[in-house]
Assembly symmetry: C2
Homo-oligomer: 281 residues x 2
């Protein structure tokens, strides 16, 4: 199986529509149809059922989508890491990716401590939306990542835990619910006039629901102050809060573990040094 075929398949599987997938791939529809049919013949597997509305994945197709995505990421990682080996041959550097906005305190401490190491190399920090860090590590855009259990998928990485913290509910100051010292997540969800915001999926789309679409944390905090929404955050985020907000402890929210993660078999001394430094914090 060639990566080209795999890319075609993933596009069709994601769009559930040959025409749109062809569009996305920058090619015409017929060759894509043919490529999919040929892939099915070669694999001896029906990957899609053709419906009047488009293409729906079969069980075999779901398997190929799941496994194919990690395979494609691995190929991309091989390519990118090879390129970077050349680019950074003279000036070694590593790419660290982390969630934009959060854990800035931890990051600052880590970067400072690492920069003081004798064999430190340059660290390029790549901040991005929540949930994008693990994919970046998987496809080679990053060399190390700060990830968060249980939100990120850590499978396939070597990791080292850095901290564990509980989550709290952020409310508008003066809201009746602030009278409570603690509550359950179910209770927090069902406060009638404060729907929790919706986080974007990896593709940028949002789930259905009443809450506001969360794009920028400070803007959402402003919405909280205005009494339009509430927010569940790790405790450490409290440090950055300004006036107009109240905090209620959550009894049954899962604790958040912050970890540093890197691809196995990494030979980078920079990555090793950064991990060692992180472990000493």
């Amino acid at each position: 199986m060639e990566t080209r075929e795999l890319r075609y398949f993933v596009a069709v599987a994601e769009e559930q529509h040959v025409g749109r997938a062809a569009d996305r791939l920058g090619m015409a529809q017929p060759p894509l149809s043919r490529a999919i049919a040929q892939l099915e013949r070669r694999l001896g597997a029906e990957l899609f059922v053709r419906t009047p509305r488009g293409m729906a994945l079969t069980t075999a197709g779901e398997t190929l989508l799941r496994e194919g995505r990690v395979a494609l990421a691995a190929v991309e990682a091989a390519e990118r890491r090879t390129r970077r080996t050349v680019e950074s041959a003279d000036r070694p550097s590593i790419v660290l990716t982390a969630k934009a906005g959060a854990s800035s305190e931890l990051m600052a401490k880590l970067l400072d401590a690492y920069a003081a190491e004798p064999d430190a190399v340059a660290v390029d920090v790549l901040l991005s939306a929540p949930g994008h860090q693990a994919p970046m590590l998987r496809d080679g855009r990053a060399d190390v990542a700060i990830l968060h259990q249980p939100f990120d998928d850590l499978s396939g990485f070597d990791t080292e835990a850095l901290s564990v913290e509980d989550q709290v509910l952020i409310l508008p100051a003066g809201h009746p619910a602030t009278a409570r010292h603690s509550m359950s997540v179910a209770e927090a969800r069902s406060i009638p006039d404060l729907p929790l915001p919706r986080w974007p999926h990896l593709d940028g789309s949002y789930p259905d629901g009443p809450g506001p679409e969360l794009r920028d944390l400070t803007q959402v905090l402003q919405l909280v102050r205005l009494g339009r929404t509430a927010l569940v955050l790790p405790e450490s985020a409290q440090a950055n809060l300004r006036d107009g907000l109240a905090v209620v402890h959550l009894t049954d929210a899962p604790p958040v573990t912050t970890v540093i993660a890197w691809p196995p078999h990494s030979t980078s001394t920079g990555v090793a040094g950064l991990v060692r430094t992180a472990g000493r914090l």
Copy 2:
């Protein structure tokens, strides 16, 4: 990058010789030369230095070999698992791989216990040479594996430990060293008339050294009885020993952890059931 290019590159990197690699790939030498040159151009990286003896990997080449192997295994896994999804659609089954010869007691217990489960599926057992289990899990030839720390590379798998045991030295009965109750690995290595056997690499070749080449465990045990070699084994292997052998405890050999491992994101209920059963043993 296409998987074809990657396969070509890996062949050349392993053979360090374009002609032999072309041979292995069943093609002529010139197109392979050209494909490698083209790959280097597209990656913007010198992958090999051309020597009068053949091709030697550069640093970038080593990166691509390491990462490319796991990428190729992932692509193969995607293909194989998709095929198996179809084949075993009517009669679900899973492939369990384990080291031939060892842990037979554990395996028997596990398979018996699992077969007694209400939702058990058929288990095809795939016995193979030591060290081959992890690759089989990586490229989709197996769905679950019994692996051994620290010998197998567990990276990228989900695992659950089943047992931990120390290693012991197996000697010919009556050998002077049997007077000792325990010794270090270094001492065991330096018993003058008993060189330890050599284990094969993954490709079937053997490291240099004085000891006999280990192919079949029972044959090597015969060699031990004849006073020609000694052997380091996990304790549990003692159960299968016959007469003519003596056991000395090793003080500093690393303990061997037997684990059950499976690929992350596995959706197989059979794998889940087997893992659950193993955890209860």
